[in-house]
Structure formats: structure tokens, C-alpha cells
């Protein structure tokens, strides 16, 4: 979408955990928004993460991805990262490079556009080669 996209995925965003892996991301807007204004999707080496089993942590609180539209009071400060926890049978092998793609749709709550006055959709997709760091603490 624009220059702020470069901050969405940091070089150390991918970490193996005992139950799979974590993926951290930041928002590409200029100000904080609550989780209710976001949709997130990601792939690792082309395999999509499963929204049914993935959870998201911000401010020390953890939710199912499916809960995000209801979380109008859980804010992601613009300088903070949210963490996706992806569950799989074994930890993601660390110290290997993966192609990670993350799409973040922001529904801007104060800019309404079009005949129906829908929130502006500010969508960004970034792809990056990330080396998976060693096993973190998990959830």
C-alpha cells in the first residue's frame, strides 16, 4: 500500500515454538486501531495458516482469530507488534529461511467511502524471506 508497509514484518518476526510457530506483525496505518478493524491472513512457504486454530496475542491477551471483529476494545498500539500463534504437530524447524507472506486488511473506522459509507479498506500484503528463530516459550 505504501512506505509504512516495510514495518509490517520485522526480520525476527518468525519464531519456532513447542506447538508450531509464532509470527509477529505490525500495522501499516499511522495510528493505533483496535483488533475489530483488522483482518489478517498469512502463508509460510505457500501454506496458509489455519484461521480456525490460530490465535492472536496483543497486550498480553490472547484470542482466536475469528474473535477479532468483536474486539473493539483491544487496541494494537502503532509501535507494538501483534503475535500470531500457529499450531502444528511439530515445531517449525528453526534456522531455516521461509517465504512468509502476510496480508493485513485495515477497516479505517473514521473514513467512510462509497455510496453506502463503508469504512475505507486499507489493505497491504508483504512477502519476505525470514529465518525462523529458535524455539520460543509457546503460549
Amino acid at each position: 500500500m505504501g512506505p509504512l508497509d516495510k514495518y509490517i514484518l520485522a526480520d525476527d518476526a518468525l519464531t519456532a515454538t513447542p506447538t508450531g510457530f509464532d509470527l509477529r506483525f505490525k500495522s501499516h496505518w499511522y495510528r493505533s486501531l483496535p483488533l475489530s478493524c483488522m483482518d489478517v491472513r498469512a502463508t509460510v512457504n505457500g501454506v496458509a495458516i489455519d484461521p480456525a486454530t490460530t490465535t492472536i496475542s496483543v497486550n498480553g491477551n490472547t484470542y482466536l482469530l475469528a474473535e477479532m471483529p468483536e474486539l473493539a476494545d483491544e487496541w494494537l498500539f502503532i509501535l507494538d507488534a501483534a503475535t500470531l500463534h500457529i499450531t502444528q504437530p511439530t515445531p517449525l524447524p528453526p534456522n531455516i529461511a521461509y517465504t512468509v507472506s502476510l496480508s493485513l486488511d485495515l477497516h479505517i473506522p473514521y473514513i467512510l467511502v462509497g455510496a453506502k459509507g463503508k469504512p475505507l479498506l486499507a489493505s497491504s500484503t508483504v512477502s519476505k524471506t525470514l529465518t525462523c528463530r529458535n524455539v520460543g516459550p509457546g503460549r
Partner: protein
Amino acid sequence: MIVQDSSIKLCTSLFSFAYEWNSGQYSLDGMLAEAKRISLGNGLEIIGFQSLKGFPTLSPEAIRAVQKLIDKYGFERACLDANVDIAVRRHRYLTPDETVEYILPQLRVAKQLGFPVLRVQLMAGPAVMRKLAPFAEKANVKLGMELHTPYGVEHPAVLVLRELYAEMDTPYLGFIPDFGTSMRAIPDALLGSFRAVGVTDALIELTKEIWHKDLPMPAKFGELQERAAALGATPPQIGRLNMAFSMNGRQRPDQWAKIVPQTVHLHGKFYGFDDDGNEPSIDYAAILKVFYEGGYQGYVASEYEGSAFTDAYSGFDMVAKHQALCQRILTELNIAHAVSIS
């Protein structure tokens, strides 16, 4: 010749440093230190949801810490920006009463931090503003409705507010004109971002041609859709080109004269400069003259928006250039004024 100080003062909006802020390289202290270093004026504008974690729920300690930082660098508090997030819930809009409740904590922070003006946005309609007015008066904080394009002074939504303001006749209800509402060209930074996604020069010329036409917005979108498709533009490209119309207003600068008495702050939007230090897409001399001659006394905040389209420039350098431009124009206005009364 002795020239009196202009009644319009310079101000830095931290919005201008979005690219630097999001990098995570600055604390609020570091950001204010750098802003102070490059600022010609003492005014400061902060966007609550950008700069203050937890906003608008801030502890007394957090409030004191921000106060201390603002004072440390000797900034004058010009404006705190609220956001009117009526679509913060995914499946329905906030009601007017809920919108009032959403804004009140932000108004409280403005009071606690000592900001004289709270920026609000057009999603707060007349019903909301009517209810907020007594709270603003009690807090001694003026509510400044941002007039961002497409909300020019004659826009129906603005006309309704002007009627309300006339009826309530209180200094606590005002406007914040945004210079992006009255532009003379599409910024090069935006055009460059079009080229980056493969838009051809022919399409850019077409977009410019339609932008300059005196047509209602939907008619412009329609004409662009038809003619750009004929030139081979893809739907995503056309969607992007629509931004040229939606982000860059064409209101005549002299139209601002109608609301100068209700103006409580100014957003000096800008995108870039030519070799002479002028903003090619916004006629600063013409716009500032309208507010100067209308008797506006307050700040013009430097609001750099180019970082939405390019990372080729430092926000700090751009604000320094913007304030030099504004100061040059204000000095010229002061000299002209001094000559006219001598």
C-alpha cells in the same frame, strides 16, 4: 523596516513523522527533541491514537509524563487530535450518543494536557456536536471540526454545521481547514506512486485532465472509469487513480473566507516542494492570505502527508522546508500590511 509579528504562528504536527515514528527508532521524547530541533515555530499538535499508548485512557502518571516532555522542549500546546471512529465496531456504526461517549475521554485528555483545541472529524454530525458543546465549554477546550477534502465550506455536511454554529454562537465550536481541500494540482508524490504500480503517462495525463474539470465527484469517477479502461487500465489501477480525486480537493482558496471567524486551527497539509521551496500542488500564498486578511489568529500546523506515498524524504526535512515557506509568506503579508497602514 520593523515588521510586526504575524498573528499566525507556526506549529509542528507529529503526524508529519509517521514514517519515522512507525520505524520504532524514536521514543516520544526523541521525537519531540527532533521536532524541536527542526521547528521554526513553537506550536505542537499531537494525534492521540498515534503518539500516546493507551489513549484516551491515560493514568495521571502518564499525563504528567507527557506534560513534562512538552514542557521540556518548550512547545506551546496547539491542538490534540481526536478520532471519531464511528465504525470501530465491525457490524454497526456508533449511535450519536455512543459517539459523544467515544469523544468525551479524548476531550478530557486535551484538558488534562492543556491543549486549547481538540480536532474532531465530520463523522461527528450536528447532533453529536450539539451535545459536546457544553462539555467543551466546561473543559475550556475548543472543538475544531477538520475540513478535510471533500468537506469544503459549501459541502452539505458542512453547511449543516455552519447553521448549527450560527445558532449556538459559542467560541467552543469551530473549524480546522485542511489545505488539502483547496489544491491546485495533484501532488507529484501521489503521481509517482501511480507510476510505481505500472500506471502509464497517458493514464496520468487523463487523470489530471479529469481532476481539473468542474464536475461532481461521481461524474469524475465515471469518466475516469470509462476512458481509463479504454486505455487499457486494470481495475486495481483505476481504483488507485480514484485517489487523485478523493484526496485532492479543488475548492477555491477564497472560499475559506466564509469560515475564518470560526477557524480555531489550520492544517497546513503538504506533499513536496519545488526548487524555489514552493508547494507545487497547494497555493500557500493564496490560502494563507485569506486567513491573514480575515483576521485569523492561531497556528498553522505543518502536516506532511507525503510519507503515505514515498519514503524518499525525511519528514523532519520536509517540515523544516514547510515552515520556511510559511514564514516567508507570513513575513511578506506582514510587510504588505505594514506598508498599507503607513
